[in-house]
């Protein structure tokens, strides 16, 4: 029998339901992997093996009683530490929230537990989800299990901000994990680690109980090792939530049942603006592979134009920090989390000391940018202008989707880079999300699936962007790619 930790969501769900193994056996196997990898990969901020076992026992008991199991019955998962989990430390990878135990459960995590999933632990991430390499966590860098094939031993970035999720998936520490994507935070880590992740349409998954970064962009989604697993988990996570005013009041489709890699009659748009000068050769080649695969699946390939693409990144780096600067104002040392109260400090001093100590440099940088662009005298030049450009970017997509059903593009401009390689150059770091950010600004569903390895032996991802609410179209195109890419590489175990 295959090792249990090699199994994905569908296989575990079906195996538990069919009695091939118990949920507790699965949980134990993953718990062991989590514990064994913690020191080397630092993918989890805390492990919660008892929670995984508890949920598994409940599933096994349910099965013993002959009851139907949930969509995620018996599947242990990793929970990005941006989701509030009842009485379990929730930090957003910040010192600010170290030790914070919410007395509430986020809507998305609750839905997953209700669907039969269990929690292996809280996954590391970039602090407040701000970062593309998982180097901004207060709890240390997450290390990718992947190594370059150059014989060197450089530690590589798992991507970010959902780097704990991607690293854990690639290292078989969990069969699936939650992610959140504000400007590529699900897709880029998935691409860096040879895993699969989908950011659904903005509003599909409730933001209630998810520590906010940029409210108009934040969207939760599943990360796993196959398109089907993503479809299953997204079904469990999505759905209208009256507690989130921006939640979509739409029924959740049965995406898994409607999965099909047949692209006959579908048009796939190739945005010419993404074919930038100096695009990494391997990335360019994998994109061409993707085009060929979708053609092979029956799709018609059309060139499309997204003329405002080059403004997407600057627009994102105005809007996201602006919202963040306001969203993070609540961390003030008054009610919960860190309080730094120097001797004789007044209220202002306490704010300053608390926020200086509680936020890392990248978070501070973004708060400063956001405060600046919202300031009197600059607001119109930056924020208002950015909102206008955002509308134009959304319009670009709307026009493009008159000609095609989905868009195919690279997920990231490069494969994983080494830890420390980009930390001194924020702009270079921000460029990682150049292909991911436009779909975020437009609120569109987009996913990354592994396409193959580059010449260094590192995974590359392909991105499928779909129309609003058309997760099915995205998943199906993703499946068509997955079936042809036949991606089976996995990092050699060194930890």
């Amino acid at each position: 029998m295959t090792e249990l930790t090699e199994l994905g969501v569908a296989q575990i769900r079906d195996g538990v339901a069919g009695g091939d193994f118990t949920a507790v056996e699965v949980a134990q196997a993953f718990n062991a992997n989590v514990a064994a990898a913690q020191e080397a990969l630092n993918a989890f901020i805390i492990a919660t093996p008892e929670k995984a076992i508890e949920a598994a026992q409940a599933t096994d008991a349910k099965r013993a009683r002959g009851e139907a199991l949930g969509k995620m019955g018996g599947v242990p998962i990793g929970m990005k530490d941006l989701f509030a989990t009842f009485d379990v430390q929730t930090t957003a990878a910040s010192h600010m929230l170290e030790g914070f135990k919410p007395q509430y459960e986020s809507t998305v995590s609750q839905k997953l537990w209700d669907a039969g999933a269990g929690m292996l632990g809280k996954l590391n991430l970039d602090q407040f989800a701000m970062g593309s390499s998982n180097e901004t966590s207060y709890f240390g860098n997450v290390i990718s299990p992947w190594k370059r094939n150059d014989g060197g031993n450089a530690a590589l970035a798992p991507g970010g901000s959902s780097g704990g999720s991607s690293s854990a998936l690639a290292a078989r520490l969990c069969p699936a994990a939650t992610g959140t994507d504000t400007g590529g935070s699900i897709r880029q880590p998935a691409a860096f680690t040879g895993t699969t992740g989908i950011k659904p349409t903005y509003g599909r998954c409730s933001r209630w109980g998810v520590v906010a970064f940029a409210s108009s962009l934040d969207q939760a989604g599943p990360m796993a090792r196959s398109v089907q697993d993503c479809a299953i988990m997204l079904e469990a996570m999505a759905g209208f939530d009256a507690k989130d005013s921006t939640s979509l009041d739409l029924p959740v489709p049965n995406w898994e049942a409607a999965l099909s890699g047949d692209m006959k009659g579908k048009k796939v748009g190739i945005p010419k603006e993404y074919r930038v000068d100096g695009l990494d050769e391997d990335v360019s080649k994998s994109w061409d592979d993707g085009i060929a695969w979708l053609k092979d699946a029956g799709a018609e390939i059309v060139e499309i134009s997204l003329p405002h693409t080059k403004y997407a990144l600057p627009t994102y780096y105005i809007i996201a920090p602006a919202e963040a600067s306001s969203n993070l104002a609540r961390y003030d040392g008054v009610r919960y989390g860190l309080r730094d109260l120097p001797d004789g400090a007044n209220l202002q001093d306490m704010y300053a000391a608390t926020r200086a100590a509680g936020f890392g440099p990248e978070v501070k940088r973004r708060i400063l940018i956001g405060t600046y662009v919202l300031s009197a005298g600059f607001y119109d030049a930056y924020y208002t202008q950015a909102q206008k450009v955002r509308a134009l970017i959304a319009q670009d997509f709307a026009k493009a989707f008159e000609q095609c059903d989905v868009i195919l593009a690279p997920t990231a401009p490069s494969a994983a880079f080494g830890l420390g390689e980009n930390v001194d150059d924020p702009l270079k770091m921000y460029l990682n999300d150049v292909f991911a950010v436009p779909a975020s600004l437009a609120g569109l569903p987009a996913m990354s699936v592994p396409a193959g390895l580059n010449r260094e032996g590192l995974p590359l991802g392909l991105q499928v962007i779909g129309k609003a609410f058309d997760e099915q179209g995205v998943l199906n195109a993703g499946l068509a790619l997955e079936q042809r890419a036949q991606f089976s590489a996995k990092p050699e175990k060194w930890w």
């Binding site: 919410p102 005013s245 306001s326 609540r330 209220l347």
Partner: protein, 498 residues
């Protein structure tokens, strides 16, 4: 035009006043959370995860608060914006958990409207003076700091955090403290009629920021100051008087008015500087990305409009036009919700007790309520709310007068006894034998006695000294211990005296 002027050393000055009124919306729960809003609850007993701004919490607009704001806008005949939006006003303070207040800067829910203040010749308020209202928007209230609970720390009570407020912004259309006072009173009356705010200024559910500037008559607007959080009509008028003459003093001494925020001190009736424009916050307003724009559909607006009660001006006109009340009585009875509610209940019961139309007994009820009943309440230091006599009881008393069972003067005596004992009027009249004598035979007999005993005066009367009629009435009533029906006594006396 108001003729209010401040006489400075160098000539006359006009005052220009605008008010920003914060009115707490009457609703069971807060603007964006399900927490209760009751006044005076234990500190931090009405605080949800949202009000405390826990990580990941999101606001969801409370429909009732929106409805109340729309109804209020309709009551001042304002434009209702079917599309409005919430903005964040960012600043740090310990009573502001989110680090921002959710408000509406750019697109308020209610646009331009107006209200007419009541004319008052004595106070120099002309008839039909209209005060423009620029906008009404809804926003969250902040919590409360308590500085007296600990020697070195301040405590925070978040019960009020997130409670819905309407900010009602007037045009600078008021030209005297009296006009500002009249505006605030009228606004309060309208809010209480509509039921969108209880108007309890002493509990802070209504408070005003007072913008004042002065200028030479007819000249351009001067620089204004804003005096924050003034919480009674009287204080608003005091603050304006003080602030306007302070500004005149500064200007006449060659100084300049600084645009600044000031505080009113009720113990001295004066204002003092709080912060100047230079240290004003940069609030970094931007649309709240947690909330969708607020879009109101026609059905909702229709429901809001249909639910509006008769408003003060309309009610007063109806009292004069349909019920035949004097303008003064109509003004008194419509000035407050409690008053008109009591009057209308009394009127309905009085009419039905006497089998008449309300219009037929309205004058009687209004006169009695204002001159007799309010006087009696006053004497006891009570208001309508805690009146020991109910309107049912009062209607019974009025019916006894209306049917001629007792006279008006006996009614006063009965009312006093009702206040003392709480008994019903009928019981008292019966017990104390106060029933009016309307039997013509009995009255004729008494009249005959009086006329016989005063033959000299009868002669004088018949010679033309008609003023003596009152003497005969008085003697007859006295002989009947005040219980003779005055109308019958009059008629019989007239007939007998010829």
């Amino acid at each position: 035009m108001s003729t209010y002027r401040i006489q400075g050393a160098t000539g006359d000055w006009e005052v220009v006043i605008g008010l920003e009124v914060h009115a707490q919306v009457t609703s069971n729960s807060k603007l964006f959370s399900g927490s209760a809003t009751a006044f005076g609850a234990e500190p931090n007993s009405q605080v949800s995860l949202i009000d405390a701004a826990m990580p990941g919490m999101l606001p969801v607009p409370n429909r009732e608060c929106i409805r109340q704001a729309v109804r209020t806008g309709m009551a001042i005949e304002a434009q209702i914006n079917k599309w409005s939006r919430f903005d964040r006003k960012n600043y740090f303070y310990a009573d502001l958990p989110q680090g921002y207040q959710i408000s509406q800067l750019y697109h308020p829910i209610v646009g331009e409207g107006s209200l007419t203040i009541d004319a008052d010749e004595k106070a120099g308020i002309p008839a039909d003076k209209v005060i423009g209202i620029e906008r009404i928007h809804v926003e969250q209230d902040a919590g409360k700091l308590m500085h007296d609970q600990h020697p070195t720390m301040s405590y925070v009570d978040l019960n009020r955090s997130g409670v819905a407020l309407m900010e009602i912004v007037s045009r600078p259309d008021m030209a005297s403290p009296a006009e500002a006072g009249a505006y605030l009173s009228k606004l309060r009356t309208i809010l209480r009629y509509v039921g969108s705010c209880d108007g309890n200024m002493d509990q802070g559910s209504m408070r005003a920021d007072v913008n004042v500037s002065v200028r030479r008559p007819g000249e351009e607007l001067g620089t204004r100051t804003e005096t924050k959080n003034v919480n009674s009509v009287r204080f608003v008028m005091q603050a304006i008087e003080h602030e306007a003459s302070r500004q005149v003093d500064v200007l006449e001494a060659g100084g300049k008015i600084v645009q600044e925020t000031r505080l009113f001190d009720p113990t001295t009736g004066s204002t003092r500087s709080m912060r100047s424009k230079e240290d004003a916050h940069d609030y970094r307003y931007f649309p709240d990305p947690d909330l969708l724009p607020l879009e109101l559909d026609d059905a909702f607006l229709e429901e809001c409009r249909a639910s509006l009660p008769e408003l003060p001006d309309a009610k007063r006109a109806r009292y004069v036009g349909e019920l035949g009340l004097s303008a003064y009585n109509a003004a008194v009875l419509t000035a407050d919700v409690d008053t008109f509610a009591w009057f209308e209940a009394l009127l309905a019961e009085t009419a039905s007790a006497q089998g008449k139309q309300p219009a037929e007994v309205a004058k009687q009820a209004a006169n009695w309520l204002i001159s007799e009943f309010f006087g009696a309440l006053n004497k006891q230091g009570k208001s309508l709310e805690d009146s020991p006599v109910s309107h049912e009881q009062a209607a019974e008393l009025l019916a006894l007068v209306g049917k001629g069972t007792i006279s008006g003067s006996i009614a006063k005596q009965v009312l006093e006894t009702m206040f003392e004992t709480g008994d019903n009027a009928g019981v008292i009249v019966e017990r104390e034998g106060l029933k009016q004598e309307s039997d013509t035979g009995a009255i004729e007999a008494k009249v005959d006695e009086i006329l016989a005993a005063n033959a000299d005066k009868v002669a004088q009367y018949r010679e033309g000294k008609v003023a003596l009629f009152g003497f005969f009435v008085g003697q007859t009533m006295k002989a009947m211990a005040g219980k003779g029906n005055p109308q019958v006594v009059n008629e019989i006396l007239k007939a007998k005296l010829g």
